[in-house]
């Protein structure tokens, strides 16, 4: 096992340690490898005599169960591998800064891509759905108003404001039909809208994952 392999493996199993402590641990082993190499030992030999990095990590993590470990999901410090130097002490903090810079770039690129390719069609779809909602509600309202008007006309034929162009009966059934269709449309739209919201949320999560380097 080379030094890098050893250090990578170790880092992987202690990545939830607080940054400072973890840095210190990595420095200790860096120092160990460096002195060993100065004495003419090979990295492989040194790694071998140190033992299994995972076991070492377990010892480290076990010693202090009440240690303030980072919740990895909330941590921005996702494991992207060992970035130490070959001469001198490891500088793991560089790793984190690169990460932030990269993520910002990716985020900006994504925003541009979304605006160019996704926003247009998305607005189109949302617009259509909104239009249908308005139509559906309109149909229901029209039907309701129609029925009210017809009822009034039926009861008081001489009412001047209300003018029904067809026979009352036809008007009545047309109104009922309008309401029914409107209700049906509302039912369909409700499910379509739910789907749209769900996939919008998923798409946003997807974008977030890309920025955070999870894809």
């Amino acid at each position: 096992m080379t030094k890098i392999q050893f250090m990578n493996e170790l880092y992987r199993w202690i990545r939830t340690m607080p940054d400072e402590d973890r840095s210190e641990v990595m420095s200790d082993y860096e120092e160990h490898f460096m002195i060993g190499k100065q004495q003419g030992r090979s990295e492989d030999e040194i790694a071998m005599s140190l033992g299994d990095p995972q076991k070492i990590a377990k010892e480290l993590m076990n010693n202090y169960p009440q240690e303030n470990f980072i919740d990895e999901n909330k941590s921005k410090n996702k494991y992207t591998g060992y970035q130490g130097h070959n001469n001198g002490y490891a500088t793991f903090e560089n790793n984190r800064n690169d990460n932030r810079f990269n993520r910002a770039i990716v985020a900006i690129l994504l925003i541009f891509a979304n605006i160019t390719f996704v926003l247009g069609p998305y607005i189109g779809i949302v617009g259509a759905v909104v239009g249908f909602w308005i139509a559906a509600i309109g149909m229901i309202l029209a039907g309701v108003i129609g029925i009210i008007g017809i009822l009034f006309k039926a009861v008081i034929p001489a009412i001047p404001f209300i003018h029904i162009p067809v026979s009352l009966t036809i008007g009545f059934f047309v109104s009922i039909a309008s309401i029914s269709l409107g209700v049906l449309l509302v039912y369909l739209l409700y499910h379509v809208t739910k789907l749209i919201l769900k996939y919008t949320a998923k798409y946003i999560e997807f974008n977030k994952d890309i920025v955070n380097g999870n894809r």
């Binding site: 641990v25 420095s27 200790d28 082993y29 120092e31 160990h32 460096m34 002195i35 060993g36 100065q38 005599s49 140190l50 033992g51 299994d52 990095p53 076991k55 070492i56 010892e59 480290l60 010693n63 202090y64 001198g88 002490y89």
Partner: protein, 103 residues
């Protein structure tokens, strides 16, 4: 040999070496490996724990051969603990010997 027992013994050994001489990590590991078989990587976690418990302190010292090295030295409390563990060890050895040689 029981892991917990070995850990306790290792702690005594580390404290004993440091009582004699302040060492940097690699040096301590080499000293110990001369006479007992240990998994060298676990010395550092042990040293971390001893430092957290207040038995050991560390300092950096410039070295001619490269970057500064981290030296470990015993605190007064560390010395006390070492004495205690040493007595326990003697008692244990005496006990085992009397059983093994007595039977």
């Amino acid at each position: 040999m029981n892991i917990q027992f070995k850990k306790g013994v290792l702690e005594l050994c580390v404290l004993a070496v440091l009582e004699n001489k302040e060492c940097y990590g690699y040096e301590l590991v080499s000293e110990l490996s001369k006479t007992i078989v240990i998994s060298e990587g676990t010395i550092y976690p042990l040293l971390r724990r001893l430092k957290k418990d207040g038995y050991v302190t560390t300092y950096l010292q410039e070295s001619t051969e490269g970057p500064p090295r981290k030296y470990y030295s015993l605190t007064q409390e560390g010395r006390n603990v070492k004495d205690e563990l040493s007595m326990e060890w003697d008692r244990f050895i005496d006990g085992v010997n009397s059983i093994v040689k007595g039977c």
